[in-house]
Amino acid sequence: MSNLVKLTINDTPVEAPAGSLLIDAAKTAGIEIPAFCYYEGMSLQAACRMCLVEIEKAPKLMAACVVPVAEGMVVRTESEAVVKARKTTLEFLLTNHPLDCPVCDKGGECELQDMVFKYGAGESRFTEVKHHVPEKQWSPVVFYDGPRCILCYRCVRVCNEGMGVGALGVVNRGVVSEIAPSHGDHLECDECGSCIDICPVGALTSGAYRYKTRPWEMEHTGTICTHCSDGCKTTLGTRNGEIVRGNNRDRSGVNGEFLCVKGRYAFDFNHHPERLQAPLLRVDGKLEEVSWSRALQVLVEKFKAVRDAKGNVGVIGSTRTSNEEAFLLQKFARTVFGTNNIDHHRSGDVATLLDALSGKTGALGTSADCYTSKAVLIIGADLSQQHPFLANQIRANVRHHKTPVYVVTPGAVREDKTAKKAVRAGEDWLAAVENLKGSLAGEKELLVVFGDAVKGEGLRKLVALGDSLGIPVKYIALVDYANSRGAMDMGLLPDLGPGYHAVEGKAGLTLPQMLAATDLDLVWVVGANPLKKASLASSKAFVVVQDLFRTETAERADLVLPAASAYEKNGTVTNTCGEVQRLKKAADTVGAKTDLAIIGLIARGLGVNLGKVDADNVFAEIQKTVRGYNVPLPVIVTGGAAQTQPVNGRVPSNVLPDLIRSAGDTLFTTGTLTKYSKVLNEVMEGPGGLYR
């Protein structure tokens, strides 16, 4: 604990850690010092002059955002001089501000509005002509309205310091200064939209959201982004049932207010015109829309026949459905069909990691560890492309704590810029890490974040190397999508059931084996698209697909059931760090049902009792039966993240490392969903390495 300093603010005694800023000390004491340019975690500017306060013995008003607290300091934040200074600063700000609040996207959640309301003068003495420049569009999603800009430089800082991109700067000087992209008239950046969110006024607006609604007309639902596996909370704003905005201004969730382009904009697939709204049944070789009752009737008859005939079944699960759906799917397959032919697209070797860490506690890294760990080693992963939130955490860690980062990747990555050491290594990553051993052992602790190259025996060797460093080491095995981790935890594997227990009986077929098998009678694909780049060898198989769209796999199906998206259901998902978080239903698509409901309806049709099929009930069962998932319910229910406990015991896995392969998405792709996101397709200016 750092030393406390005693000071007085508005006659109230306040204690604050030595070295802390006056503005923060006041805040902890419940005293607001208004500011525009001051932003926690970003570099200091002292530009807006809103936080001027009176400090005894100081010759003039001081900016509270840059003055550290001092013993015996006497501060007044509401004195006559301070009140007048704020009033004139706001009056100055409004001189060239267009006051087009009635048509401004920010109206209602604008910091300038709030400040003027609280601290401003009732009328302005400004009677001159305002300075005006036309609005500019910098990218499909970012618009800049210069006159509204108050030049607080938050956007410049969040882009440069926060994102490590530096796509924004300031041009001109004086009253005609304005924010401008570093590439002249357009942005070449992550298109994350952080600049829009952080803008206190309506100067930066979102192409996806602008002029669609007034903020107070939306309902807000905090749920988990369905794209990558970082598990960011995105607060979806819905208007008349349509999702119109994604952000996370309330800083709930593991990600605080961070979101990448996908979390912020790529909810738009949800309202894509090609969303399936009725089941499709193959009639005379063609898929035709049928009613749900007809579809279920066909399905139940087929399932019954296969079950009774003890036919060969293959079940392919999803990396985006909820834990409850994954759990129920494997339970259905294992109990009703008695098969272990269950798999999903695996993208990280979590099973071997858990086995190698068997008996250890505190060795699984969380997303928070990326920000707090005293050293970070990145192996074989382009974090800023594939795991933007974890990359952001590590950047913030470097920025705030000067943490050493070691990078071992096949190609150049953004982390190189701030890395202590960056080494190029692909398959030979282990040798490269061994070369770094001397430096790594000198650190106080280490967080190892690794991609799909690290698996099987190599992963065991990595953990052994970690053990030999003699410092606490934590690991994060990166996986691809929102619930890739949950799919494994829930036992969507041919050899491992929920909680990584060995399955009863013989291990089933893996995904490639299922596709290659010629004797399957029934293939049940729930929320996956395995036939995107492969074909199904069993030509006689009856293929059932549950999905949002007519994917390549759906085209081969005999029966397609329209599924609800992750934004249309309740449940839980587990991110790449094993943090369980809650999905909340934000929208609805007419005709689509959740995969959980569909499995429940099939069970009911077959007369199978799977227990009460609702998300809460299934989660209760997961908590009881799945190793590591006995997580505190209140944390999850209240929107928090609870990390699963390590599996205490060996994992009897016969992992086939060849099966583990990341889809290698970029910042602007998200598997099959890419195709259905208008924003992602618009902003995809140069896939891959352009923005490093």
Binding site: C48, R49, L61, L93, R173, V175
Partner: protein
Amino acid sequence: MKLYNEPSPLETRVISKRFGTQNSWRVDTYLATGGMQAFKKACEMTQDQIIDEVKASSLRGRGGAGFPTGMKWSFVPRQSELPKYIVVNADESEPGTCKDRLLMEHDPIQMVEGILIAAKAVGASKGWVYIRGEYRYLIDHMDAVMKECYERNLLGKNILGTGFDFDLYTQTGAGAYECGEESALLESLEGKRGVPRIRPPFPAVSGAFQCPTVLNNVETFSTVPAILNGGGKWYAELGTPRNGGTRLVCLAGHVNKPGVYEVPLGMNMMYFLNEIGGGMLGGRKLKAIIPGGSSCPILSAEECDIAMDYDTMAKAGTMLGSGGMMVMDETTDMVKVALRIMRFYNHESCGWCIPCREGTTWLRKMLVRIIDGNGASRDVDLIGDLAQSMLGRTFCPLGDAAALPTISLVKKWRPEFEAYVAKNPFASTELVQVA
């Protein structure tokens, strides 16, 4: 190099003694006229001795703020793992000031020697001369001077066999007044946008490239060799207590002999104006004097019988500033003076902070409107109030520089503003309040 004005016999020429002599900027001339003796002397002294000598001279920064130079140097940490740098502020951009260019034109090696002594005093081995972009010709000149200095071993390795190494470079500004402010200058020097930095840390601790830096004006460095040659005590006694030595005053405006003159601190302003400046142009009556560059509050004729030193000027509510003295006679329209000054600061406001950026714009627009005959009776008070609202609330002193002369103009020549407003027949029309 020719001089722009005839020197006056009443000057005390310490740093301008080589001005106007043939080839005064060449190494040979410099060495033949006692140059580099101070540097050699400094090489025999300890760092503390040099700083103490400068402190004893009571030399104060000649850039405008008047901070004691010796004290500034003593703030540079003696033990530092970081390299230390010297930066010369040759971004002479205060309106009315034109002395640094003469120093660089006529006696640049004197400045180089001053830099070397400062470098010796703080342990620096590299420095930059940051020259305003408008002084294009001077940059070429300085480059030629430095080339010769390198050739004659006045710069580079083992300078004059003393074992001391120093490298000096020129750096061009891009035409921003703001970059004369030391921290904005450093940002610009580093290749960034020229906006001021948050202080503390001050440049002495974290300056150029985040390293300890001594940053002084051209004139300040140019004065240092004379101090070491003649001794701090001798130099101090040229001026008045706490206001040591001489300084260059740039006399301009409605006077008979405008020019740059070196006078001891503490000389009476009217004496200077009449005896050295040759009195008012055309025998007209004095109306006002801007004593030290356009940022200073303006003195009315009655206030001008005053000693020109830092402390006396401060007492009179103004500053000695950068030595740019502008004299105005009775024909001067003070409202137009206000607009001219505000136009400059509005144009030069960097835009970083709100009160300066918006305040100078508002004031400029209002002054234009008043001069156009569209003033309102409330405007005169509003000008004063807005200027007060900028004063002391801006990020850097540019806002103060715009506010101070404006406040003094409205206070001292209010009837002129009111006369302009009275030209508008609708001046006192109140805005209709809608209930």
